[in-house]
């Protein structure tokens, strides 16, 4: 049914049209293929490169459960956990299939996938998600949901906490999001990042609401949690917000060394002119104010004491998280839930960014299970952005190659424009005159005459 149907269209169609597109586009092409689709993996074959065919299998274990599975009794959720073990190697092959658009490392078909590198894994996850109801996403009834978020850096898919959390959640559930990784918050529909434009055109910009919306659209990573685990999720999210968030803000935006050398540098380099001059500073002021108000209930002591207290609590919080995680793969067993998305976003930022003064980083590195947890998720769900990638040459090339062509082109264009302007001015104002005497010597004559003119002046 859907096998030959429209869903594949978008997959192979626009996706290779990379240039304008963000790499992170997750197409729901394979969504229709679900469990029963275990035999179907071959079906996307016709339009998909052979390599992709491999994806459904490995991808499936990695997917989070969704509401769908409920309708397929034989394929209980446990099935997925069982299949999870093969995932690391399996998904390890995933990145090889879909390549970053400009990378020439991939064979042509995956290159045609372009943005499909996300598709590959997501497709697999989509398959695992269970049967698709007729009206649902694969048919692309309305416009697909679009997510605007900060682009990646420091080895992460996104440098912003909220964007990272939402992205991770979307990856867990394989939601068909068109991800636009941008560096200009003014380009987002709501003026802030992250922002989700739903299929009905409304724009949501609060991360929790984005996740709630995804849940409503049946991309629910928490579907299989027991009531108690759901309660635990709420509790731990509050813990994160109260204890870790202030410190994260402080580490990245308030601590001078970090701010100047890492945060501001990244944002200033990433943002287009002229935003890079004032926007980072404005963001810093906003964060500082938020921090002050958040930490309002602390005693209003001097800076250092406050800082020490903050970090002390954060260290405690990290230890608590580590204790709660224990030796499990994810917080609630074998499949990731929304809590994992949030915890991962906090930890990944702390771990990956190369902070000059990273007191918390040192503590975090000491908690082995949290580090392993982070790298595990990174390699499973963000193999091309993560630090540990099976094809190592892909990582550095990945995020940059997409922007590279643009940047290079822009650079070249601007240089040419500058040169043209200078030459035009020189010609028009008479500083330089072209003598057609000897065509071969014209350039030489021109430079000579230019030099003479300059000397005279």
């Amino acid at each position: 049914m859907r096998l030959g149907g429209p869903p594949r269209g978008p997959c192979s169609g626009p996706s290779p049209a990379g240039p304008g597109r963000s790499p992170g586009r997750v197409q729901g092409c394979e969504k229709p293929q679900s469990r029963p689709g275990r035999t179907r993996p071959a079906s996307p074959g016709p339009a998909a490169p052979s390599g992709v065919r491999g994806s459904p299998q490995p991808g499936r274990p990695a997917s989070a459960r969704r509401a769908r599975p409920r309708t397929l009794p034989p394929f209980g959720t446990r099935l997925w956990s069982r299949r999870r073990p093969p995932s690391p190697e399996a998904l390890g092959s995933a990145p090889r299939r879909p390549a970053p658009p400009r990378s020439s490392l991939r064979p042509p078909p995956p290159a045609a996938r372009g943005a499909g590198r996300v598709e590959g894994a997501a497709r697999g996850r989509a398959e695992a998600r269970g049967e698709v109801l007729p009206g649902q996403r694969a048919g692309k009834m309305a416009a697909p949901m679009e997510l605007f978020c900060w682009s990646g850096g420091w080895g992460l898919p996104s440098v912003d906490l909220d964007s990272l959390a939402v992205l991770t959640y979307a990856r867990f559930t394989g939601a068909p999001l068109k991800v636009h990784k941008i560096t200009n918050p003014w380009q987002s529909p709501s003026g802030t990042l992250p922002a989700l434009r739903t299929s009905h055109g409304e724009v949501i910009s609060v991360p929790h609401k984005i996740i709630t919306h995804l849940r409503k659209e049946k991309y629910n990573a928490d579907y299989d949690l027991s009531a108690r685990q759901g309660a635990d999720t709420l509790a731990f999210m509050s813990l994160l917000e109260e204890k870790l968030l202030p410190v994260l803000i402080h580490t990245f935006w308030v601590d001078t060394k970090n701010y100047v050398e890492v945060t501001r540098k990244w944002y200033a380099e990433a943002m287009p002119f002229p935003l890079n001059f004032f926007l980072p500073g404005r963001m810093q002021r906003q964060f500082m104010e938020r921090l002050q108000l958040l930490g309002g209930k602390h005693r209003p002591e001097n800076e250092e004491e406050l800082e020490k207290e903050l970090y002390q609590e954060a260290r405690e919080c990290l230890t608590l998280l580590s204790q709660r995680l224990g030796s499990q793969k994810f917080f609630f067993g074998d499949a990731p839930a929304s809590l994992d998305a949030f915890v991962f976003s906090y930890l990944a930022l702390l771990l990956q960014a190369k902070l000059p003064s990273g007191k918390l980083q040192a503590h975090l590195r000491g908690l082995q299970n949290l580090c392993a947890y982070c790298t595990h998720i990174l390699s499973l769900y963000f193999p091309w952005d993560g630090a540990e990638v099976p094809p190592p040459h892909q990582t550095p090339v990945g995020p940059e190659t997409e922007e590279e062509p643009y940047r290079r082109r822009n650079q070249i264009l601007s240089v040419l424009a500058g040169l043209a302007a200078m030459a035009g001015y020189a010609l028009l104002s008479g500083i330089v005159s072209i003598q057609r005497a000897t065509p071969a010597r014209a350039p030489g004559a021109r430079s000579l005459s230019m030099a003479e003119e300059d000397e005279e002046e």
Partner: protein, 240 residues
């Protein structure tokens, strides 16, 4: 040691601290002072005054008491301690903020109850000025944490979610962890008790809590066990 629990006159006393201290079997005496907020080291009431030490806020009080040899959570293992801390944060995050919101950002309540109560110890015009100042402060904080745009219904929904989480965690046990009360129990009791017994313009908040029978039973149990048994006649939870 004799613990003095100081609270602000006219403000509802924070039951959780009282509950915690009573659970630890510590003798306390409650004193109400108008300037209690200024006496407190962190600006928050209530706080305890022991000998020549002053400690405010539940967290430091718990630690202070622990240092003196009384602790309620020694029997918990690491994972449970982590959960306990997380739930305490949840309560602080949701219930406390919701209470604040209701008190200061809901126009009806503010006009009728809060302004009057907050400014009652002071002469005119100080009562108005201070009340407005506090309201402005609270509103700013709400905006910073993202609650600024929430409507009353959304806040109530959040409270409902929080209560649901607590109720699910409590299940059919007498206390949140094992058979012994812990700081979490004190905290939850304090907040729920306050919600249930405070008269506000609308009763929706207490209605939300009353939806969960195990939470109600929990509150009543603690009240009976720790407050009425000791012969202290505090206002009891009205039967729902």
């Amino acid at each position: 040691m004799q613990l003095l629990l100081l609270c602000r006159q006219g403000k509802k006393e924070k039951m959780e601290r009282k509950a915690f201290l009573q659970m630890c079997n510590l003798p306390i005496k409650v004193v109400c002072r108008a300037n209690a907020e200024y006496m407190s080291p962190s600006g928050k009431v209530p706080f305890i005054h022991v000998g020549n030490q002053v400690v405010s806020e539940l967290g430091p009080i718990v630690q202070f008491v622990k240092a003196k040899g009384h602790s309620l959570s020694d029997g918990l293992d690491e994972v449970q301690k982590a959960e306990m801390k997380a739930y305490m944060e949840l309560v602080n995050n949701m219930l406390l903020t919701a209470e604040l919101y209701l008190q200061w950002c809901d126009e009806a309540t503010v006009g009728e109850i809060t302004h009057a109560r907050y400014g009652s110890p002071y002469p005119w015009p100080l009562n108005h000025i201070l009340a407005y100042q506090k309201q402005w402060e609270v509103k700013r904080k709400m905006k910073a944490i993202g609650w600024g745009n929430k409507t009353l219904d959304q806040v109530l929904e959040d409270v409902d979610q929080c209560c649901q989480a607590l109720s699910q965690r409590l299940g059919t046990q007498p206390y949140f962890f094992n058979k012994q009360p812990t700081e979490l129990d004190a905290l939850v009791f304090g907040h729920l008790y306050t919600i249930l017994t405070t008269q506000l313009t609308n009763d929706e908040l207490s209605e939300k809590v009353k939806n969960y029978s195990n939470l109600l039973a929990f509150c009543r149990r603690i009240e009976q066990h720790y407050f009425e048994d000791r012969g202290k006649g505090s206002s009891s939870i009205k039967s729902s």
